[in-house]
Every structure is written in structure tokens, then in C-alpha cells.
Amino acid sequence: MSMPQKSASDRLQLQTDVLVLGGGPSAAWAAVAAAESGAQVVLADKGYLGTSGATAPSNTGTWCVPPGDNRHAVVERRWQRTGELADQRWMLRCVDTAYRNLLRLSEWGYPFPSEDDGRLYIANLRGPDYMRFMRRRVLLAGVTVLDHHPALELLSDGDAVVGAAGIGRQAGQDWRVDANAVVLATGGCAFRERILGGTGLTGDGYLMAAEAGASLSGMEFTGKYTLAPFGSSLNKGLPFRWASFHREDGSPILGPAGEPLRNGIGDREDEVARALIGGPVYARLDQAEPALQGWLRQGQPNCFVPYDRAGVDPFTELFRITLRAEGTVRGTGGIDIVSDDCATGVSGLYVAGDAASREIMTGAVSGGGAVNSSWALASGWWAGKGASAHARRRGGKAFRGTAEPLGQAGLRPAAAARADIAAAEVIEAVRNEVTPLDKNFFRNGESLEKSRGRLESVWRDVRDHLRGEGVDRVRAREAASIAAAGRWSVAAALHRTESRGMHRRTDLQGKNPALAHRLVITGVDDFRIAGAPERLAELAS
């Protein structure tokens, strides 16, 4: 068990082998994996383990590829769609570990549905049930769970990350956990878009990791948007597979060959995005047969909450729709991984789930729910094991050094704090650059350059003057993280002078073979972008 330490201040202080930050599936799997390998584990989440993150409110497929000869072919086919940026070795080890963890879920008693022949169907997870189930497994594994304990910053002894500190926002006291290893499972950055599970996803882990010296990759791939009923949080594209789309005057929206659009997901999102830039768009799920309507309603109950509450029958009536920006949640960017155990290159710091870059899995295209869900199952497992092994290696050196807090922007501004720099306005200013369809779905150099300038100005204010007090430190750090993520994203988008996957440059269409590599960002205030080849040379030197 973790040992509470006596402390002079009114502060919760714990010591442990492994500290997991986050409360979604990858955090849960990391905590279970670390605990099963004998580590003492503390999990601290901003919200509540079981409802936090993008998975809990959703119904998500997994990328479920059973073992066998076909596995290589399935991975090869998926790799073909990734814009040459994914790594088949990682894809193979991900489907392998994810499959074994899906079987573990079944052995533990998770109620998977059955197919007609009686076989369990393990390729889908219902978010509320899955995450409630995972909370119980985490507690059964002996993990100390701190709900509503957002982390503000990492701690370092100069050589390694040795813990984190934050606020118990309901308990009303600060906390500090000294740990031999830390797993960042803090999710992606949804830029405060009002999507399911998006409010807590503010890129906090990116900023914390970058402050510790870790790099990021794939930050230019934030061009994923998903259809939703207008004004709702339901960014679930699946029902729009069977939709027709219309303008305000009732005229149908046409596909690339001039035919009325009958499937609004995948590549066809481009047509819908173009129409939405032009004016309001309406849809009707009139391509769904009656049997399918029933399966959709029963299988995806959350998708129908907005219609039922608004009193609309989506199968027969037109309803207004929108495209919701999804930042790095369904984008691919995040903290760069440097080894098979999900290490970050900073001693003692590991990463899992959407906090990690998923470029190695899904390259320039979205991992959607499925690949990202399997990635959480697998990367959580590896990061938990990796952190646990690091904690064992560190053993005797534990807790002897002096731990220094690493947090800068939003906590320790470079100049005098100013009350007129408010978190909400910072976030709004960033959103104006990274969520509009005409700036971020379709990109061009001129517009990106303007966004870059505005975001640099926002960042200077944040870096120099933003500071929260008390529990508002959480909001200040969220705003700082969002500002950093937006700035990195736009800088990387300018650097990638081509179109690839969800990075669509209207001024530079088509792929440039010379850019068939990842862009790696290192640094916070003064950052640099290096291509993969340069970075390899740097590592070798």
C-alpha cells in the first residue's frame, strides 16, 4: 500500500512505485499492468475513474485482429491507408496485446454480446459499462485511486521524473505523490470543443511532458472532424453512414461523381465540410432499413438521445448537423514514444493512450474509435509494465533526492501575473485558430501563417502573465496546455508543406515523397521541429 506521509502543510502526500495520471482506459490498463507486476500504484485523475475521458460516454469498436496467418495481411491493408507514416511492427504488437487484453476482459467477466453461433463478440466495448468494469478491476488490483485530483505538474530530481503534484479539487487540498515512475495517460486535446468526454481533454499531459524534456509527434494531424446533430455533443459518425444530406433550400448535397451523397463518413466528410462552410446543412437517416434502424437504436443508444429529447425522428425528418473538431483525440498527435515499453526518452516518464502520439499506429489518418481503443488496451499495458520495471531498477535511489516541480506556463509565469489574462479568453482565442472548418479542415499556408502569428501572441501572454490561484490553477494550466497544443499543431501544419491524410493543404495538394516521415517537436517556449531522419542522426551523435 502507499504510505501517507506526515506533512507540515495541509497537503496529501504519498509515496509509491508507479503513479498513473489519467482516468480513461489506458490509465486503467496501465494501473492494472503495473499492479500485477508487483508495483505499488497510485492513480490520480482529473475527474472520476469510470466516467473520465472520451471512451466512457461512448460505444466504441476495437481494432480486433485474432491471431493467425491473416493478421499480417490485415495490418498491411490498414498500413496502406496511413500515408506511409505508421510502423507495421508497432501495429502488429498492438493488435496482439489488445487481443489478449480483450480476452482478459472476457475472463474477468465483462459481459460481451454473443454472435448468432454463440461465439462472444469482443470487437466492441460499451463505454459506460467498460469503464465502470475497469474501475472495479483497478480497485481489485489494490491500486490507490484519487478521483478529482488533477495533476498540475511533474516533479524531477534533475535526472528523472520522480512524481507529480496537483490539487484535490473536491477535498480542497494540494497533493504530491513521490513515485519511481510516472505514466501519463491524460488523453488528447479536444480544444474545449463540446464533444462527448472532451471537457477534461485539454492536453495537460503534453505540456507536462514537454516541460520535462519529452518530444511530440504528429501534431499537424488535427484535421479530424465528426458529424453530430447541430449543437449536440454526439460526435459519433456511425449513423451518418446511412444519411442523405441537404442544404437549407432542400437541394441534395452531391458526391464527387455528382450523385446525391448517401454516406457522410470517411472520405465523404470533405463534401459535407465544404457544404457546411457555405451554409447550414441538414441530414436524414433515410438510407437505414427498418432492421438496421432497430440495431442502431439498441446498439448506439447514446446517438439517439439528442433526437429523442428534441422530439425529432431522424429516420424520417430532416435535422440540422454540424462537424465537431476533435483535436488530437481522433487526430494522431501526442507525446513521442522512444521504446517498446512506451518510454518517452525522459527517465521515469512513460505514456499511454491518446496522450501518446499514435502516428506509429495510424499515421496521417484518424485511428477513429477502433484503432485508438486497441491502442489504449495495448499501450496502457506496456506503459504500466515499463513503469513498473523502471521503478524496480530505481529501487534504492528512491525518494533520496530533491524533487523540483517543473510547471511553468499558467503556474509560474515568466513575468508579472496579470489579472486581465483570463483562462477562458485564452481558450477562445486558440479555438478561433484551430477549430473553424475553413482554417483547419481545409488549410493553406497564408491562413496558417496568420494563425501562427496570433497563437504566438496568445502564447506570450500565457507564458508571461497567466496564473491561477487556488483551485483555478487547474483552469490556468488547462488554458496553458490548450495554447501550447494549438501552437504546436499550427507550427507543424505549416512545416508539412504537402497534403497527407487529414492534413489537407488547398495550396499544396498531393503528397511530397520527401515528407514521408514524422515531424518531431521538442521544447516548450522555444521549440524546434525536426524530421525523423534528422532526429535519428541526433540520437546517434
Binding site: 460516454p57 454480446p113 460499451r126 477534461g200 438496421l292 437504436r297 443508444p301 438521445v305
Partner: protein, 108 residues
């Protein structure tokens, strides 16, 4: 977003205060929890399904309050609707084993 905590239905267990991932509710000394930070609501509907007495109502519009009243929600029998659709009862999980999503994937 979250709009209603029905004092008539609430048993003051404060589960919603605990499970809300974005810390929208505050417990009170002697009464139902209050919606303290409505703008932080991410319209995920999870507080509703965890509520053992179906006392909460989250409206479908995520950008701001709609002003729907408890009487309207009661009249349209919307309290607990999402929990029933999932198969959750009294705040306990259920229904995953009947999820027909695999049929949708085949049709897709």
C-alpha cells in the same frame, strides 16, 4: 447540458457529485446537490445513468441551457430515458450483453 436536479426524486446520495467527470455539482448540507458549474458540463449523460433514482436531466443542447422545466421533463417521461435504453437500472450497469453493434458493423 445538465439542467435539472429534481428535488422530488433526489435521495441526496451525492453519487452525481462523485461521478461527474467535470465536477459540475456541489453537495449541499441538507438537500439535493446543486449545479454549480453548468458551463463545464460536457453533455455526456453519465450522471443520469449513475443516478439511482433518475433525478437528473441533461438536455440535448451542449452549448448552453435550454430552460426546459422539470414539469416538461416529467410530462414527456424523459427522466431516466437514456438509462433505460442502455439497460441500466437504479444506477447499476446492464445491457452490454445485448448490444447488437456487431450487426451494424456487418451492414456497414
Amino acid at each position: 447540458m445538465i439542467e435539472i436536479v429534481s428535488a422530488a426524486r433526489c435521495v441526496e446520495c451525492d453519487i452525481c457529485v462523485k461521478v461527474c467527470p467535470t465536477n459540475v455539482f456541489d453537495a449541499t448540507k441538507d438537500g439535493a446537490p446543486v449545479i454549480a458549474r453548468q458551463d463545464d458540463c460536457q453533455t455526456c449523460f453519465l450522471c443520469e445513468i449513475y443516478c439511482p433514482t433518475d433525478a437528473l436531466y441533461v438536455a440535448e443542447f451542449a452549448e448552453g441551457p435550454t430552460g426546459i422545466t422539470e414539469a416538461q421533463v416529467e410530462a414527456r417521461q424523459l427522466f431516466g430515458g437514456y438509462a433505460r435504453a442502455l439497460g441500466w437500472k437504479r444506477g447499476k450497469a446492464g445491457g452490454s450483453e445485448f448490444d447488437p453493434t456487431h450487426r451494424i458493423r456487418v451492414a456497414q
